[in-house]
Symmetry: C2
Subunit: 300 residues, 2 copies
């Protein structure tokens, strides 16, 4: 496998487009390990972010212009919100080097293929990927090298993709400590719609529902939002731009899962209204069983 | 305040009706502190539970018959699922001693007043209470003395209740380490409907929604249900009987909150469908703001 000899950097020149939680974690990881990239160039839209990256010393070069940043890179990783991909691609596509591996870390994959493929220069290899790791914090200070350790990274290569390029992206994530898996983009989007996007939609929503209650009740809600509600809504602290873009770029799958979930919640609500104890028990028992299955799989 | 002198037990004879997670935690706490009860008698419907309580040595007496168990007790705490209250009350009411404080730990309070008040003997003081503490585990082995430490306990006394009895229940929970607050039963039921009951309904439901997906997607869902979904569904591991009873006994408030939440989730889903970025951003920003407020209050 080319470029994956022990100790040899996987890429000569790695370009990170976007240096938030994920981008800065990759930069820290690459700096720490030394076997991921010979040098790291970072670019971002915001001057403040770039100034901070310079201060943190997590990239070898900091370049405000994305077209210049990607020049000569044999790997470019998009780490911006997925809604910005089409615009960034238009700016950088003419400057990508032949043989370059273009990959990303976005939480939606169908939209990535849709937005990046049309402008892909010949000889540039597109290998979309999604490291399933994150915290509720964002920005270059939030990153850390071990973020991907023990987490899944899903790679969603297109059927005609160069196998060497796919293998390099897989190896990058293995070196990050991830369990690397492969899915087609459509299956990926359905899976994350239910395990991540819908829970976020619910968490954002229920905070608002609570806040809309009458003054007295709202005050009590805020006071008594014990650990259950606080744990449940932890993911509601996530980044605004990132989640707006995820919702808009996984629309079909998210709306499908929201519709299914709403039907199921209404069915349980109906059973509560009509006092159907057996139906309620059955749903609770089922939830417990599936939840236990998750825990067992997580431990296995 | 009678019976609350430092070191003196608050009650002579404390009877715990039900010895699951909460009941056994109170027993352990009372044993550990010594200033809550002179002696502890435990009763439960299940012989296996009582045998286990005997083995654990967390009660001074174990009595299978609830009518005998409550005799001579100056405090009785109901720690069974709220759906069992009416039946238990019918069995024990004639045997409650005059002056006895009857309290409980149920997660619904309107239903408790509804089910216990009609049979309340003269001279017995009903002081409903709800310690907002728990884990996803159940049974006498799951309890621990510090379960209530730093958590809220909401007391919901009726307007005509004896102030000394109310103060004794408040002091019991202060000695358990709880922050004791007072609400009327209806406000309590609305607050817990949104901060606890609806999140549980959602968590039970979304596990089932995930499990209903087509074979291939379901397998991937179980595999990739990363920490987000696992954290989000942690509360779905909770006890079946307890949650069936909570749903059925806080029906009005729960259905009201489910209806509000569903409207709000549908509004966000509609904005996703029609690409209304500003609406989506606004909802996410609001969720974040409220979530931050919760954390700040928690730290304050």
């Amino acid at each position: 496998m080319s470029g994956a000899e022990a100790g040899a950097p996987l890429f000569d020149r790695l370009c990170l487009v976007g240096v938030g939680l994920i981008g800065s974690s990759i930069a820290r990881l690459a700096k720490e390990r030394g076997d991921i990239a010979g040098s790291i160039v970072a670019t971002a839209r915001s001057a403040a972010t770039l100034a901070r990256v310079r201060e943190l010393g997590i990239a070898d070069e900091v370049e405000p212009d994305v077209a210049r940043a990607v020049q000569g890179a044999d790997c470019v990783i998009l780490c911006v919100p997925v809604g910005a991909y089409a615009k960034v691609m238009a700016q950088m596509a003419p400057h990508l080097s032949p043989g370059c591996v273009l990959t990303d870390v976005g939480s939606t994959k169908g939209s990535v293929v849709r937005d990046l493929s049309p402008l892909l220069p010949p000889g540039v290899h597109l290998v979309p990927a999604h490291p399933m790791a994150g915290t509720e914090h964002s920005g270059p200070d939030a990153g850390f090298a071990s973020l991907f350790q023990g987490r899944y990274t899903i790679v969603t290569p297109l059927p005609d993709c160069d196998p060497d390029a796919v293998e390099k992206v897989r190896e990058l994530w293995r070196r990050a400590g991830s369990n690397v898996e492969t899915l087609d983009p459509a299956t990926h989007d359905k899976v994350v719609a239910i395990v991540s996007h819908l829970p976020h939609l619910i968490a954002f929503t229920i905070c608002g529902t609570a806040d809309d209650l009458a003054e007295e009740t709202r005050e009590a809600v805020l006071k008594f939002a014990a650990s259950g509600f606080r744990d449940f809504t932890r993911i509601a602290a996530s980044d605004v731009d990132m989640w707006r873009d995820i919702f808009l770029n996984n629309r079909e799958a998210l709306l499908e899962m929201l519709a299914r979930f709403t039907e199921d919640a209404q069915a349980l609500g109906r059973a509560v209204r009509w006092g159907e104890a057996e139906f309620i028990e059955d749903r609770i028992r089922r939830g417990r069983r599936i939840r236990r299955g998750l825990v067992e799989r997580g431990q296995a």
